[in-house]
Amino acid sequence: MASVVLSEAEKVYILHGVQDDLRTDGRGCEDYRVIEVETDVVSNTTGSARVKIGHTDVLVGVKAEMGTPKLDRPGEGYVEFFVDCSANATPEFEGRGGEELGTEISNMLYKIFDNQSSVDLESLCILPREHCWVLYIDVLLLECGGNLFDTITICIKAALFNTRIPKVNVLEDDEGAKEIELSDDPYDCMRLNVEGVPCIVTLNKIGHRHVVDATLQEEACSLASVLVAVNMKGTLTCMRKMGKGSLDPESIFEMIGTGKRVAKSLHVSLQSVLNQEESMGKKRQKIGFLR
């Protein structure tokens, strides 16, 4: 992450702005920056998306591979997260430098998806105890300009929306031996219901107020923040306090309220963008990184 060092005066300037609900880039406390979303950007994947918020740029590829169900959950497939903080974002991430942040983020992702409603894992099972789909959700961090967690979860939701898993038929011969056959038709595929997929809203405490979608400068002004993962139904699936500072319980209650409110509108607009993009079908001009 490009590290930002702010002087006291700059901090005070940001703080006063937040106090008056007017941030340095003209936004209010509960406003996001422009979010650019594009799905189906990498053709080697079962689903992919790229999301850009300000200078934060994230690419997510979902790959479905055949595996064996976990012993304690024989009737379910499972999801694996991997976050690659590439040296693209900052030279500090070169070699193994990005691993620490990468594991921190993937731990967080495991936690927000650790419930029944996020992804329907039972639909990923092909043959109980024997075969299932493993969804590898690989996050590639290309640039970081604040609000990493929100961007990543939005991108994951978009990539999961874009995911098309091939249909599989289980054939059974006379002796009861089972065989698996992949459908030949590339359009014969299964889609995931993304209604339960949560998005994180990070609330940074600045002064007495809190802001969403903080820039790097604002993050540098904040001693503590709360991450709230909320799905479309408004259910909270994960919450965590981050940062060195401590928080007053009352302000956490307020932040939970804001988080839920913001997440709701975030989900609605994301879904409409995704639907709109899909309705264009093949006609859509793929942009990718070519502007």
Binding site: S106, N107, Y110, T235, T237, M239, R240, K244, L247, D248
Partner: protein, 252 residues
């Protein structure tokens, strides 16, 4: 899989817990919580200053449950708190294992807001926590234990840090201080506070929390923490009575 050349080698293709092959109990509505109210905690036994080599140490044991040990010592670095949190292999109960990643981060962040690290610009504080037995709510216990060990070492802090856990069952009931069976089937919350300042220093919750339930659970946890506080003060008092004159941080 890469082989760890620094340990005695086990079976090549790994091993599985026998619990996975055990006859499953009926999946029906298991009755949670017998003989203990939803906002009732298990009894806790706390001792500070029992390790001979560490600058400060503490041990916390929950009746019929989790056992946590923590030691603190000085290292030669620059003003920073270094936490090491580990679960012994034999600590986890036979029923499956859960993802514990991120526990160390909660520990670190909870303590960082309490320890006045700026007072020790030229020293590194090292902290090592070992969970020997996990019967639910071991993570907040580990944080409590760590804060106690820091206090035992005479480190300047704004306040002790006390942790508590709560869980929310499928039917929406909220239980304080869950056992590992209760944790397994419900949504979990870990909360740490600085009781005197009434500030939240750490918060982590997973699973599904609907409506106002997170707020409710947080309040329950805070009450639990407050109840634990006098007990911790007591143990610190008795440990410092033992070592008179109290050694300064330079003594190590």
């Amino acid at each position: 899989m890469p082989v760890d050349s620094r340990r005695v080698r086990g079976p090549e293709d790994g091993s599985q817990s026998p619990a996975l092959y055990a006859e499953k109990e009926k999946e029906g509505e298991k009755v949670l919580r017998v003989g203990r109210g939803p906002s009732e905690q298990r009894a806790v036994c706390v001792r500070a200053g029992l390790l001979s080599q560490a600058a400060g140490s503490a041990y916390v044991e929950v009746a019929g449950g989790s056992k946590v040990m923590c030691g603190v010592w000085w290292g030669g670095g620059e003003g920073r708190l270094h936490c090491d949190l580990r679960w012994a292999r034999f600590s986890s109960p036979s029923t499956g294992s859960q993802r514990r990643g991120g526990g160390a981060l909660l520990l670190q962040q909870s303590l960082e807001s309490a320890v006045r690290m700026e007072r020790y610009p030229r020293a590194e504080l090292m902290l090592s926590v070992l969970v020997m037995e996990e019967r639910g709510a071991a993570l907040p216990m580990a944080i409590t234990c760590a804060a106690l060990a820091l206090a035992d070492a005479g480190i300047e802090m704004y306040d002790l840090v006390v942790g508590a856990a709560a869980c929310r069952g499928k039917t929406g009931e909220i239980l304080l201080d869950p056992t590992e069976e209760e944790e397994e089937i419900s949504a979990n919350m870990y909360l740490t506070i600085m009781p005197n300042l009434s500030q939240v220093s750490g918060l982590l919750c997973t699973g599904e929390w609907e409506g106002d339930s997170p707020v409710e659970a947080m309040k329950l946890c805070m009450e639990g923490c407050q109840r634990l506080y006098p007990l911790l003060q007591q143990s610190l008092l008795s440990s410092s009575k033992k070592k008179v004159p109290p050694p300064g941080p330079e003594a190590s």
